[in-house]
Amino acid sequence: MEHAIELRDVRKTFGPKVAVDGVSLVVPRGAIYGVIGPSGAGKTTCIRMIMAILFPDSGALSVLGRASALDAKDRIGYLPEERGVYRKMRVGAFLTYIAQLKGLSHQIAAARVPDLLERVGLKGTEKTACDELSKGMLQRVQFVGAMLHQPDLLILDEPFSGLDPVSVRLLREEVLRAHARGATILLSTHIMAYAEELCDHVFMIHEGRKVLDQPMSGLRRQFDRRRILFEPLHDGADVSGIAAMPDVSRVEASNGGGYTVTLVEGAEPSLAVARIAALVPPARLEIARLRLEDVFVRIVAGGGGLDDAAAALRSRLQSGAVEEARA
């Protein structure tokens, strides 16, 4: 089956600045793909090239089996990072216009608008002029604009930034609904929690280069084997015994009455877990999982010695990327 998006060694420069440098990416159909990276990393440039709003200097790409998104625009829903509406237009008219540009008939577009507006918490705003809405409301209006024509590919550039938690939840449900319908989703965000929760694959770009391209399941399976999260069953339990254990290097209290136990180099975490459980009855006891945020921070920090594992992961991913590019 053809991929929803495929980028092969794509490069884009703006004058002397290299915005995207030899990035390759394959998004299978039906996936929820997260694009993460710090500000100015090249995420939006990548997305604009996928949308054929910008064109790469070199490299090749295909979108929904076509050489350019221009040939598949009506099958793509796009929420750009820069939010924009016709301020004087009414919400209903604006959304109907956008949906018509995406190939829907006026009747179908007009019929879908009220329902979708209600689902994102904007019931009854069809007749309201766009400039009377708050920034968050406009963002949801634009989100509806990207969804109305039920696209096969949904590209969302920072869809949740600046939204309140209730709105985030409503939009997230809509994204999942589109995914359940069979749509492929490409989601750019710098809020790691959302990427972690929604995406089944994560792609990270930093300084124009790909630095991470991995399924979330694989990332979740990776554990920080030297850290154990521990929460005693009883309040005020004495944890000095844990600190005295030979394979423990330190015990730090964390927020919420728990502790982070760091093991010495070479210690076997499973044995340490058993010993801790024997010493102090636990309410919660687990080997720390690697969080996407940790990976992100460590990669962006540039291997400043925060964590050896992250550095190793980084070098492994980079070499993987090189191999992939060679292939």
Binding site: M51, L54, L70, I76, Y78, R83, G84, V85, K102
Partner: protein, 458 residues
């Protein structure tokens, strides 16, 4: 290129422009008010005169010869003949032959001048009591005829007093609130009657004298391959009106196009649009939408012109082919300038930045204004012919020449159209490239060198 998407963009562009309050007030209300005025004016002018005025004119005539002549010159038939002569002369001054036929029509004469008044002359034997006669003017009328005027002919009106060379005249007394036109009718009648009386006093025949003093003024004939009769006056200002209409229409469309593009860019809606349409589709839609706006305005103004000419019974003066070429030349000029303005709109971040780039383009659009007078004076000079083939002035120069007294040969007209179309296509092609690159460029405002670099890049 999807025609459906282009039509959608054009439709939105048109609706956004014509439903804008500024547009409605500035572009539509003014001409509508003007046309109401134009239609209403002749009717207002003749409204009071529409009701036929019937009344008495008292004459104190010591000469005894003016009053009988006045009875003749103030008759309904004489008044109508005078009016017809006056309008025919006025039309000849303005236009020459085409309008004359139109105004010879009795209905038109009546429409322009109002109903013919009916004067009943009442002789007052001289010497009369002037004070009593003045009181008669202001007293309530006894019957259905109201007093309209009191004429006192001076004794030396027909023959100068002994030892004098100067003729006497008359005194005219009218009741308050007398219509000036009514007064003028009496004066015109008096003028004719007194002149006739003076001629008779010298044993001269009035019709002979009139025939001897009348020299018909024919329109001049332009000598060339095809000899044609040309009319001056009306045709002298037609070229300027037409060029004005083209420039005005282009300015409205192109300026609004630029403003709306800058707005789309600054409100960041442009990226949403570009996810649905290609830059070329967007530009095509916008250019066509604004073209419709300009055509609407142009149609409105042409409509007012036609209404005005019809209202003053001068529609015969307008050559319909000129209107056809006006629209055609407008379209060519519009495409050339609109795409340039659109590209500028796409290149800048806000209207303030656009000014630096727009000023030279505006100057180019204004050049024909400066050239209009010399081209109109000598429409077939080498200068005028050369200008007809240099875009973007070509269409405007040709418009002036075509509306002038000696229009150019038809091959030159079509050559101008060809050159104009080629220039419009070339400018649109370059503008489309700048448009595409400029739309997503933010930051430092570009100059012309940057625009050219973008055009080369894309």
């Amino acid at each position: 290129m999807s025609p459906r998407k282009i039509a959608l963009v054009a439709g939105r562009e048109f609706m956004a422009a014509v439903t804008n309050k500024g547009f409605l007030i500035g572009i539509l209300i003014m001409p509508v008010m003007f046309s109401v005025l134009v239609v209403a004016m002749p009717r207002l002018m003749t409204a009071s005169a529409r009701q036929q005025v019937r009344g008495e004119v008292a004459v104190i005539d010591p000469t005894g010869r003016v009053a009988p002549a006045l009875r003749d010159t103030l008759s309904v038939a004489a008044i109508e003949a005078r009016r017809e002569r006056f309008i025919a002369r006025a039309m000849q001054d303005v236009a020459g032959s085409p309008g004359e036929a139109a105004v010879r029509n009795q209905q038109n004469v009546a429409r322009v001048s109002g109903a013919t008044p009916e004067f009943h002359l009442v002789d007052r034997p001289a010497p009369a009591d002037l004070a009593a006669e003045k009181r008669w003017l202001t007293a309530p009328p006894a019957g259905d005829l109201r007093p309209l005027a009191l004429v006192v002919v001076q004794p030396d009106a027909l023959q100068p007093a002994p030892g004098q060379t100067k003729y006497g005249s008359y005194d005219l007394f009218v009741p308050p609130n007398t219509d000036e036109r009514l007064e003028n009718e009496v004066r015109d009648g008096l003028q004719d009657a007194i002149v006739k009386g003076r001629l008779a006093a010298r044993q001269l025949d009035a019709s002979d004298v009139e025939a001897m003093t009348t020299v018909t003024r024919p329109p001049s004939t332009t000598v060339g391959a095809v000899e044609r009769r040309t009319s001056v006056g009306f045709n002298r200002f037609v070229p300027f009106v037409f060029v004005g209409l083209i420039v005005f229409g282009v300015m409205i469309g192109a300026q609004t196009l630029m403003t709306s593009t800058v707005e789309e860019k600054s409100s960041r809606v442009i990226e949403v649009l570009l996810s649905a349409v290609s830059p070329l589709e967007l530009m095509a839609g916008k250019v066509l939408g604004q073209m419709a706006v300009s055509l609407l305005v142009l149609a409105l103004y042409i409509g007012i012109g036609v209404l005005m000419l019809t209202s003053f019974a001068m529609i015969g003066l307008l050559d319909p082919w000129l209107v056809f070429y006006l629209v055609l030349f407008f379209l060519i000029t519009y495409f050339l300038f609109a795409s340039a303005f659109g590209a500028i709109g796409a290149a800048v971040n806000e209207m303030r930045e656009a000014q630096a780039l727009v000023t030279p383009v505006m100057l180019v659009l204004m050049v024909p204004w400066l050239m209009a007078a010399p081209v109109a004076r000598e429409p077939n000079s080498t200068f005028a012919i050369a200008l007809s083939f240099i875009p973007p002035m070509n269409t405007l120069a040709m418009m002036i020449r075509m509306a002038s007294t000696s229009p150019p040969p038809i091959w030159q007209v079509w050559a101008t159209i060809g050159v104009g179309l080629a220039a419009a296509c070339a400018v649109t092609w370059i503008a489309a490239k700048i448009f595409r690159v400029g739309l997503l460029m933010y930051g430092k405002p570009p100059n012309f060198a940057t625009l050219l670099r973008w055009a080369r890049q894309s």
